[in-house]
């Protein structure tokens, strides 16, 4: 048993607000779960013992004067800032786009509470241990509601800042109304010792569109467990990009549910890992209704002794005829000690579907290498270009160009640091 979990349960019992009923339900489920160990399938390769080894104190609402929000050139965005898991109005953008209501848990109106109560823990499945913990402990969060038909062109940047030694839990609930459109980025960039859980539940109503980013760029001893859970209604669209660096504990659970027909989901995932970092992604695509499409591309570069865990599940229900689902996972290993644990899980109960699923260790493309060299680029530089190009292909797919440019330079910096520890010719290690 974990003393941290026991402690969390005690703390959870004390939380009392308009979400109490939901929290109590989660608490009941949480008490039935056991702390993960190596035999726990969902946590087989990712030890959570680091949580018990750290000493974290719950959030205090001190406005850290040093808290800096990354400036992004040419980006039309409104920043919404969480400081140690609490929404911080002082650091957040004062002018918000039209047609979207944004409120913190504490300021929610009766009407907002009503839809929030209906959505809270309804998109996120109960099986996620830390999701339940977040249900119980997330004292603050954001309710974002886009009115039907409204096309929000300004990107909402949900920026998460943490002080050293802090433990923080935050929540986001987003509803994109019928025919509406929203773009949102969840950003995590800290490397200071801390622990956070951050779960987001998105409902995309009929004909609505969501452009979503999660930049899980915490490193070092910033421990982070989070989730992004999406419910897609008829003819809705999701374009989601997840970018991960590893840390001592960096875990993301993704659930995409096709709850309506003719929905389209594109999920692209990029990770860059170095040192002894861990990045763990569990994704589940549920096709419950016919005519849905999912394309999931998961790619990463793993250096040194870093470890990636990817569990990609596609579940096509009996009624989900004419589903088109594709998932691929490609990894480039930069050292012999780098570790990739990838596990595809396909469950198909409908007969008229097209489904592809593959995981590979990427090979260096010798033709491309020669082509670059034949123009005068050194072999080493050409390899670096190709390796970066391998993940950049997915960055190129981001609909927001300003954001892609910012991300590209961040990835380049990290990639340049990685290559130092990696022998160029030990690229492929299958």
């Amino acid at each position: 048993m974990s003393t941290w979990l026991a402690n969390a349960i005690v703390r959870g019992t004390d939380v009392s607000d308009w979400l109490s009923e939901k929290r109590q339900a989660a608490l009941g489920k949480l008490k039935q779960q056991s702390w993960p160990n190596r035999k726990t399938e969902a946590w087989k390769y990712t030890p959570v013992s680091v949580i018990d080894r750290g000493a974290f104190s719950p959030a205090v609402n001190d406005v850290d004067a040093n808290a800096a929000i990354d400036a992004i050139d040419n980006l039309d965005a409104s920043a919404l800032v969480f400081l140690n898991g609490r929404y911080c109005e002082a650091l957040s953008c004062k002018t918000l786009p039209e047609g979207v209501s944004i409120t913190s848990f504490h300021n929610a109106s009766a009407a907002q509470k009503e839809w929030a109560l209906a959505q809270f823990a309804s998109v996120k499945p109960d099986r996620h241990l830390f999701g339940l913990i977040n249900d119980v402990l997330a004292e603050d969060g954001l309710l974002i509601d886009v009115e039907p038909g409204v096309q929000v062109t300004t990107l909402l940047r949900v920026v998460n800042l943490f002080s050293e030694g802090i433990e923080a839990h935050s929540r986001i609930l987003v509803r994109v109304g019928k025919g509406a459109k929203l773009a949102i980025a969840e950003e995590f960039t800290n490397s200071t010792p801390s622990l956070n859980t951050s779960f987001a539940e998105y409902v995309i109503e009929d004909n609505a569109e969501l452009e979503h980013y999660r930049f899980a760029l915490q490193t070092g001893s910033a421990l982070s467990v989070g989730g992004g859970h999406f419910k897609l209604h008829d003819h809705s669209k999701l374009h989601s990009t997840l970018v991960g660096f590893g840390s001592q504990l960096s875990r993301v659970d993704v659930d995409i549910e096709h709850a309506g027909q003719h929905a389209y989901a594109e999920k692209n995932v990029v990770y860059l890992l170095d040192g002894k970092e861990i990045f763990d992604l569990h994704s589940t695509i549920e096709h419950a209704k016919p005519n849905g499409t999912t394309e999931e591309n998961v790619r990463g570069i793993v250096a040194d002794q870093a470890k990636v865990v990817f569990n990609g599940r596609i579940h096509i229900h009996r009624d989900a005829q004419k589903t088109l689902a594709e998932l691929n996972n490609r990894n480039l290993l930069l050292s012999r000690k780098a570790e990739v644990n990838t596990k595809p899980e396909l469950e198909i109960y409908a007969d008229d579907v097209r489904c592809a699923h593959g995981a590979t260790v990427a090979e260096l493309d010798t033709k491309a290498l020669y082509y670059l060299q034949s123009r005068g680029v050194s072999r080493q530089d050409a390899q670096i270009m190709l390796n970066f190009g391998f993940i950049n292909e997915l960055v190129d797919r981001m609909p927001n160009e300003a954001l892609a440019t910012w991300l590209r330079s961040k990835l380049k910096v990290r990639f340049a640091q990685m290559k130092v520890s990696s022998p160029q010719d030990a690229l492929v290690n299958s």
Partner: protein, 264 residues
Amino acid sequence: MSNALLSVTDLHASVEEKTILKGLNLTVNEGEVHAIMGPNGAGKSTLGYVLSGREGYEVNSGSAKLGEADLLDLDPEERAREGLFLAFQYPVEIPGVSNLEFLKAAVDAQREARGEEPLSSKDFLKQAREACKQVNLPADFLKRGVNEGFSGGEKKRNEIMQMLLLQPKLCILDESDSGLDIDALQVVAEGVNSQRDGKRSFVVVTHYQRLLDFIKPDFVHVLADGQIVKSGDASLALELEAQGYAWLQEQRARDAELLGEEHV
């Protein structure tokens, strides 16, 4: 004084144990345009690959010099920096690597080899835009992945664009005319002609006389079965266009027979 830029002497080369080049000789002097024609599978592209140093193309004997440099001793990037450029018959698509980034790296690497400072991004962009314009490619092709999703003709024009930027000494154009529409053919030809300055040399591999109407060759060679079997002036291309290669092969067979008889 000879002003040979490229001298290939008795070159034998193989791919996957299969001998493709069987004693090839070719000398290209400064400022000259040589056309190479010949049947499919004769080894024309192989010659380009061997000269540019593609992996898997094994040189069994012979030599190839570009100016003073022994090409066969150099890595592919060093050959490029010596001034060799091969416009590929089938340019490679490299998604994720932008055309612009790739070209900047190539130009900078070649400048560095000549002891020059790297170009500023601004100057480079200006040059790259001009080169695009010259081959009728929209400038936003620079932002796209290298050849990614380019049509056949766009890929060929992208090759010529690179040649314009890199300013090589010797350009080998491997079927740069195939798959081009009539206007694009002129664009490519004009691109090449604009680079003729009396010093720069071209080896133009083609199946069609048509390109040679636009780019006037000084010499035409027939490459068959791994050797240059016949050389002539521009009129040879016309003759080949009219008659194909069969007569040449018959002639060679007769020669071989004669040679055989002499041995007896």
